[in-house]
């Protein structure tokens, strides 16, 4: 009993805060999502859900976010894995390269957006170059390729942490296994696919989940680049929520949050299931 009490004492501040700011209001949110409006408590059934799920802006935002995630998460994993593999070999100036590659993760996006605007806007530097050197038509990058630009910005910013994670995982591969594979005359490609990839499995999933979470934060970049009402392809879920906030449309807001949390739980649940299977394989 004494033990239990002491443990609770340590946990109390965190649990109180988490329940106060996350769980309890979330339950209120779930309740609100079935109400007619935030103030009128009548049970509305699934009418609100119907309204949100047929809302075109919501669907478009979902589609955009899904597309963004589907492209950036694999790209983030592959590029950072490649960089970590190269960093892991015996190269001169390795630690300098590591520092340089990790620097972007420490830079606030807000400071970098200015450069992106200077480079890619319609009258920007990139268009200036292609126009002067090759006489090409100017491309309205922000409008036509806005998603590509935000993807680049996202990757630039988020690769650092992934590289650290992969580097530490590469260091943890048991050296005996690698050595014995060398003895058996195993080439570097084979070594990567049969040994390293096997030990990297759990890390790849962790990096995947982290990138997934971060990719949902892409609103930040988009907002800083283009403001509250961006061009179509850039309209993300967070924009949808923010605009609902400003219009004080709480029922729709709560419905959207509930739907998203369910979707997120399903995705993460599937990932965790796969991960635990892979984990078991590695431990054996």
């Amino acid at each position: 009993m004494k033990e239990w009490g002491a443990g609770i004492g340590f946990l109390l501040p965190s649990v109180a805060g988490v329940f106060l700011f996350f769980f309890i209001p979330f339950l209120m949110l779930v309740k609100m999502s079935f109400q007619k409006s935030a103030t009128i408590g009548d049970f509305a059934g699934l009418a609100n859900y119907n309204a949100v799920l047929t809302n075109e802006a919501f669907l478009e935002a979902c589609g955009n976010t899904a597309l963004f995630t589907a492209v950036t998460v694999p790209a983030a994993i592959l590029i950072s894995l490649l960089l970590a593999l190269v960093l892991n070999t015996q190269l001169p100036g390795k630690s300098t390269f590591r520092s340089l590659l990790l620097t972007p993760m420490m830079v606030p996006v807000a400071s970098i957006v200015l450069i992106w605007q200077v480079m890619f806007s319609f009258n920007g530097v990139l268009n200036g170059w292609t126009y002067q050197l090759f006489g090409l038509e100017r491309i309205d990058w922000m409008k036509d390729h806005g998603q590509l630009l935000t993807m680049l910005l996202f990757l630039w910013k988020n690769l650092g942490l992934n590289i650290i994670l992969f580097l530490s995982a590469l260091n943890n591969i048991p050296q005996e296994v690698v050595e014995s594979s060398l003895m058996d005359g195993c080439g570097s490609v084979r070594r990567f696919f049969s040994i390293r990839l096997y030990y990297l499995g759990p890390t790849i999933f962790f990096v995947g989940i982290m990138s997934l979470i971060n990719s949902f934060k892409i609103f930040r970049e988009v907002y800083l680049l283009t403001g509250n009402y961006p061009y179509g392809k850039l309209y993300t879920l967070q924009h949808f929520m923010n605009n609902k906030f400003t219009r004080l449309d709480y029922t729709q807001l709560s419905v959207a949050a509930v739907i998203l949390s369910i979707a997120m739980m399903i995705i993460v649940g599937i990932l965790f299931l796969i991960e635990s299977r892979i984990d078991k394989g590695v431990e054996e």
Partner: protein, 351 residues
């Protein structure tokens, strides 16, 4: 009976000895069949062949090295180019900036007019300022107080969140580490789910509670939800569970109280991950946009990260300096704490 057994054993021993000392004909090896001269010739040839293989391998590894370095150079160049560029541009005079990039910001959404989208002059990308001046910095630091106020806002929001979240998280993860009963495991699982939820989900509950507590539009509205965020609880618990049980048992036998175990045994073992978490949290909240945007409707309260996006033609002259100044604290922290960051993350056994 004994006699018989003894006899048998003796025979076996003799047999074994014979077996050991039995002379076997040595198979004639290839090398020993050669005469000394022939051997010399053969060894020379073998050495030459080996040298060829070695040279080939060396050349191949050198080629790989060159490719590796080239690849890393390109990647590192891309990684630091925007930072480098911002700092270089921040030393141009305001007039020079306006001359170079004024065009750019006329065509942005919200730029002055639509017709200017089709101007013929192209912006000049200049890496090296024509005349070095601290114009922009003096403008930001001494003449436009709104930037400094926003900067102060950023500090005011970020520092309490980092300290508060770490304090709360250290205690919570100590509890999660010490007692692993079923109910607590369920709670830990809830924490993990919460950690994985994107802002789009968590901001709405936070907003409702802030409204109920009547702290919207105050710094607390951003700070409190930040303090109770569960990301660092997850990471620190993962790390603390790897601390050997024996340490804690020894402390208990010596009669240490829970608080003493926490402060004298567990925390000193957690320096690296706590430092790493502090760095990660600092950059994360220094960079925050979503929370202040929703919680702090009043513009004067918002941190510089939100304010920087409102750069337009009028204030382009000092924007680069403001951006550079905003980057400096995290970069300094990184310079000082890179090793702790990398070590802390790799030690925490996240996978």
């Amino acid at each position: 009976m004994d006699e018989k057994i003894r006899e048998l054993r003796r025979k076996q021993a003799i047999l074994a000895r014979h077996h050991i000392y039995e002379k076997k004909e040595q198979p004639q090896s290839f090398v020993s069949s050669l005469s000394p001269d022939e051997r010399e010739v053969f060894m020379k040839g073998a050495r030459a062949a080996n040298a060829v293989v070695l040279r080939k391998r060396k050349r191949r590894s050198r080629v790989a090295k060159v490719f590796g370095v080239a690849f890393l150079s390109v990647a590192a160049f891309i990684a630091i180019l925007p930072i480098f560029f911002t700092f270089l541009n921040s030393f141009m005079s305001s007039a020079e900036i306006e001359g170079n990039y004024g065009v750019v910001f006329k065509s942005l959404p919200g730029g002055s007019n639509e017709a200017s989208r089709f101007m013929d002059e192209a912006p000049q990308l200049q890496l090296v300022p024509q005349e070095v001046s601290a114009d922009q910095y003096s403008e930001v630091l001494f003449k436009s107080p709104s930037y400094l106020f926003r900067y102060w806002n950023s500090i005011l929001l970020t520092v309490p969140i980092v300290i508060g979240q770490l304090a709360v998280a250290c205690m919570a993860s100590y509890s999660f580490m010490r007692y692993r009963k079923k109910r607590r495991e369920v709670l830990f699982f809830l924490y993990i789910i919460l950690m994985l939820m994107p802002f789009q989900v968590t901001l709405v509950p936070n907003y409702i509670m802030n409204q109920a507590l009547n702290i919207l539009d105050t710094p607390l509205a951003v700070i409190l939800p930040g303090v109770f965020s569960t990301f660092s609880v997850y990471i620190l618990t993962k790390y603390m569970r790897r601390i050997p049980k024996a340490y804690i048992e020894a402390a208990i036998i010596d009669g240490a109280s829970e608080w003493q175990i926490f402060t004298k045994v567990v925390m000193p073992n957690c320096k690296a991950p706590v430092a790493a978490m502090a760095i990660l949290l600092f950059i994360d909240y220094w960079n925050m946009v979503e929370q202040p945007l929703v919680m702090l409707q009043e513009e004067g309260m918002q941190p510089l990260s939100v304010f920087l996006s409102k750069v337009n033609v009028e204030n382009i002259g000092l924007a680069f300096a403001a951006c550079a100044l905003y980057m400096i604290p995290p970069l300094l922290i990184f310079l000082r704490g890179e090793d702790q960051l990398v070590e802390g993350i790799s030690q925490s056994g996240i996978k």
